[in-house]
Symmetry: D2
Subunit: 340 residues, 4 copies
Amino acid sequence: MNALVNCNRGVEVAYGADQFTATLAQAYSNFFERETFIFPVSTGTAGNGLALGAITPPYGTIFCHESAHIVTTEAGAPEFYSGGGRMTLLAGEHHKISPAVLEDGLRRHGIGNVHHMAVSAFSLTQATEAGVVYELDELHALSEIAHAAGMKVHLDGARLANAIVRLGVTPAEMTWKAGVDILTFGTIKNGTMNAEAVITFDPEIAKVLSVMHKRAGHLCSKMRYMSVQLLSYLEDDLWLRNALQANWNAEHIAGVLRPCAGVELVHPVHINEVFAILPASLLEALRNKDIHLRPWNFGSKGQGVRIVMSYCDSTEQIQRFEQACREHGPSEASSLRVHR
Amino acid sequence: MNALVNCNRGVEVAYGADQFTATLAQAYSNFFERETFIFPVSTGTAGNGLALGAITPPYGTIFCHESAHIVTTEAGAPEFYSGGGRMTLLAGEHHKISPAVLEDGLRRHGIGNVHHMAVSAFSLTQATEAGVVYELDELHALSEIAHAAGMKVHLDGARLANAIVRLGVTPAEMTWKAGVDILTFGTIKNGTMNAEAVITFDPEIAKVLSVMHKRAGHLCSKMRYMSVQLLSYLEDDLWLRNALQANWNAEHIAGVLRPCAGVELVHPVHINEVFAILPASLLEALRNKDIHLRPWNFGSKGQGVRIVMSYCDSTEQIQRFEQACREHGPSEASSLRVHR
Amino acid sequence: MNALVNCNRGVEVAYGADQFTATLAQAYSNFFERETFIFPVSTGTAGNGLALGAITPPYGTIFCHESAHIVTTEAGAPEFYSGGGRMTLLAGEHHKISPAVLEDGLRRHGIGNVHHMAVSAFSLTQATEAGVVYELDELHALSEIAHAAGMKVHLDGARLANAIVRLGVTPAEMTWKAGVDILTFGTIKNGTMNAEAVITFDPEIAKVLSVMHKRAGHLCSKMRYMSVQLLSYLEDDLWLRNALQANWNAEHIAGVLRPCAGVELVHPVHINEVFAILPASLLEALRNKDIHLRPWNFGSKGQGVRIVMSYCDSTEQIQRFEQACREHGPSEASSLRVHR
Amino acid sequence: MNALVNCNRGVEVAYGADQFTATLAQAYSNFFERETFIFPVSTGTAGNGLALGAITPPYGTIFCHESAHIVTTEAGAPEFYSGGGRMTLLAGEHHKISPAVLEDGLRRHGIGNVHHMAVSAFSLTQATEAGVVYELDELHALSEIAHAAGMKVHLDGARLANAIVRLGVTPAEMTWKAGVDILTFGTIKNGTMNAEAVITFDPEIAKVLSVMHKRAGHLCSKMRYMSVQLLSYLEDDLWLRNALQANWNAEHIAGVLRPCAGVELVHPVHINEVFAILPASLLEALRNKDIHLRPWNFGSKGQGVRIVMSYCDSTEQIQRFEQACREHGPSEASSLRVHR
């Protein structure tokens, strides 16, 4: 954060759009080990909307998970940015789409059937809204199916850094090497103030994006305030260190929760999120330590909590959490219900 | 059909748009017992698209059944005509939406939640794609809920005449008296060549439609060729006689099928459609009489047929059907599985 | 017309979509001497909207004449079908765009300027709304400039038959051989009831059109009623004979008007339209013969009339017109003001 | 600027969306002396797009000046945000629309003509792109005509502070008291980093905006970084002091230029912009003092410059400008050509 504030002060000397573009594009091209086109935006919704709009015509459909953020919480951004597209919803445990489900969805839709919309884009979320990651071979399999059907592959990377850290792969391996054509590169949840980015490796898509980016009002006149955030994010591996710390904190909390009596971890803990059903007694023990968890609705499984860990959680906070759990006491056979 | 051909010849003397509009609007105002605004179109997809577009802004959502024709087979017409709207899908047996399901859908969506699209329209199909009708009290209950949520109510009436005949109500009772704001009035499936119509009772919606109708290219320069179809449809109760005959034919065929060994009627037979699962032996018996039924996929229930009866089925055709069934033989307890 | 009525009766035996498509596409492929994709629609507005929408993304602009029908009288169909495109307006005498004007317009717009919309389509009208035709070499020059800028070329052919007859060229020479990628093929003004068509020679554009055509509600379930019109139009050169007759009638009327005192022909008479400023005395002489001309506003030039001649004008009507002019009397030097 | 940087540091303690909304809406309600709904965005293009999209349906048209920023330099944002609307262009000296021109434009368009788009919005720019202001009585006359035609009135206020200062009126008098329904409130050109706002006084429009704002990706998750800019802008009359200084600087520079030989001021100097045609000799004299002016194309009037003065121009810079002019020498009768 200090780095950001310093940069924020340092740029008061104006510099031109071209220099900015060049620097930013160069930094991200290095990061992704390939020529990269980057379009800064101020929200994840803008990023997803622009990215999907650039690869989906008004008569096209986007295959995605029924619980994807683009479906549930972005007020129709994909429909807006595509100018009339539709999302075709697929199911899957832990908010993941399996290759078999994608293939089946395409078969049921039919390609070239004029009574159905054109098959245009496949969007996946890495890590998913359930905090679970796709393995590299899953990404490869999915993008192969999508490309064969004539779709472009979009990756919603609101928590991409955490997923990269989890898998121990390079940004290149996680994206274009796995068949990703365009991605929403999230940084706000991992350290910046209000800068996300749409990133593509395809110059044709980049050409479309350059007009859409301006037209939607996301091309800032004083772009330097966003650029410094996106540049600082890469400097000294800030993104990596933040994500590592956040993932580690979540792993730690999950480890503390697992043995507790009556606790169920609903999804595997891959990144910095823990989804769990806790007994009322434990919730009260936590509240007594001034820890207030966000309620989460698990549908037929009932009510639980979502715990999002951050790079800036303090040791003291984590110790209070541990203490509450310890005082609440262990389960006899809780491990049986835990996914890993 | 003769009536249509005669009319088609009769209009070679040109007459003006105003006279046409006046005549058509007057005829349908009489039909619906209220001032009626009518916009002829050449397909049901155009009708549904225009109707929904007139009541759904680009940021709005349409609540409808997941099996509605607008969802499954119109290539995204609602998204196109609304300029970016979305359909929110509801479930329900026999393709009907119950008041409880609509209420629950609205509760889960949330009204005024900026992360979700605005709640704009409720679309129901009468009769449904399963050939089943909503009773008047169901229509009243649904439109009351929809209106309370700020939605306009659209009725897809591709088989409206058949539904009116089934319920023995007036066109007025079936539409505006039951809270319907706008409807797609189907006539092609019940006798005309290529004329359907969007009908509304609300002058504000009519104002919007008049521009959209032109803009979408559905305002014909030689409108008289469509008007005569829509006028003839009402003359001498042609619509009523055709629908009565078609419904009666379906009821008759259902009565023939019910006692047959191994036959399951999947949906109640309310109008001119019979959805059934037939044993292979019966299908063969029918084929031997030169009767070829359209295969229909009932999902988890398996494969069956859809039989659509028409006002112009011949007695001879129906007798051949009966003969095949008689030769195939009756079931011992088939009636237990029959819906009515 | 008889041919159409006969066909209209003849098709009561249903035939399948595939047979229809095959027949129609084959007939038009022969007509255009190349594989042709044809999409019937019921209005010219639908035709223009679909054609332009298929080649213009929501962020694209269409260069066209400021007096084009798509600009002045189609209620925003191009914006609707493109989902947010814009028309960039060019000027030019007799509603024609010169190559120099197109080049200048492109230069002022700038290609690749993110503050301006993408350059997507060039639309010209043949013959123009002023009844004037582009020569083949003008078409070649324009489409070359357009293609070099990355645009697709659209031709609004509401009066294409009349233009073909005027130039004495083949349909192929007038369209794809001159660089036209897609056209609206008008037939209603030249004989049919309610059938126009979008025609393209590009299979990629055809793929887009096939979904858009359905989605906009222009894919008729009983398509045969439209197909017979479009097929009859080509049979026995009906299109050619109608257009020849209509052009000849207009040429004749222009010849009668030219020598009249106080008459100004505002545009050259190339097809079946005569635009003229007539003295009040002549207008009265015509009215006395029961001839009522359509008033036309020529802007700064003042008020005049538009005379559209048809293949079905009777000899008696034309003779009455001649008589009125003869009685009104000749000008001494009227020919000086006449364009040819 | 110091105020902004201080605030920017101060907000590291997170505070909730509701508190932010309440504070910001309250501050602007005080500023405008009426309940005000405010939606922060990061660019003027986003502001104009959202504002116009909220009052223009896809089938609607926006009347505006042919040189308006929304027409020339926003890549089709109004078409995008309205989902297919169109801008109808009006002419006028100094980029101002007169009441007579608006009335004439509406008459030529025709209201309720289905062949033309619906008349939805009137957009004016205060001050105009030529740096000229509308007087209050002009605003009143224009909005009265627009409202009578059923349009909503939008004001593009990229330089609103400068216009308010020029006229010596209150923000309320300049906006809702003059019939403005919605405005784009520019602050970036007058001091902030990347925060503009859409402001409306109409709760119905605000309801629409709240969904569109999210859907377009302009509702920031960490909204506080934008709010502090918009709040600081009002504190201690920062907006007023900046605008006063910038206007004064421009007035001063105009006073220096007017007497110079060969100088023509193309537009009256009302705010902080000076548009002028300068002799080559003067341009060189300025360059020798290291002053480089931005070239500006005045169409048929030829090439000139645009000088935008700012609240942060230094006395030293201005003195260098004066010196160059003094050395270049005065005109004998230059004042004749000056507008005031």
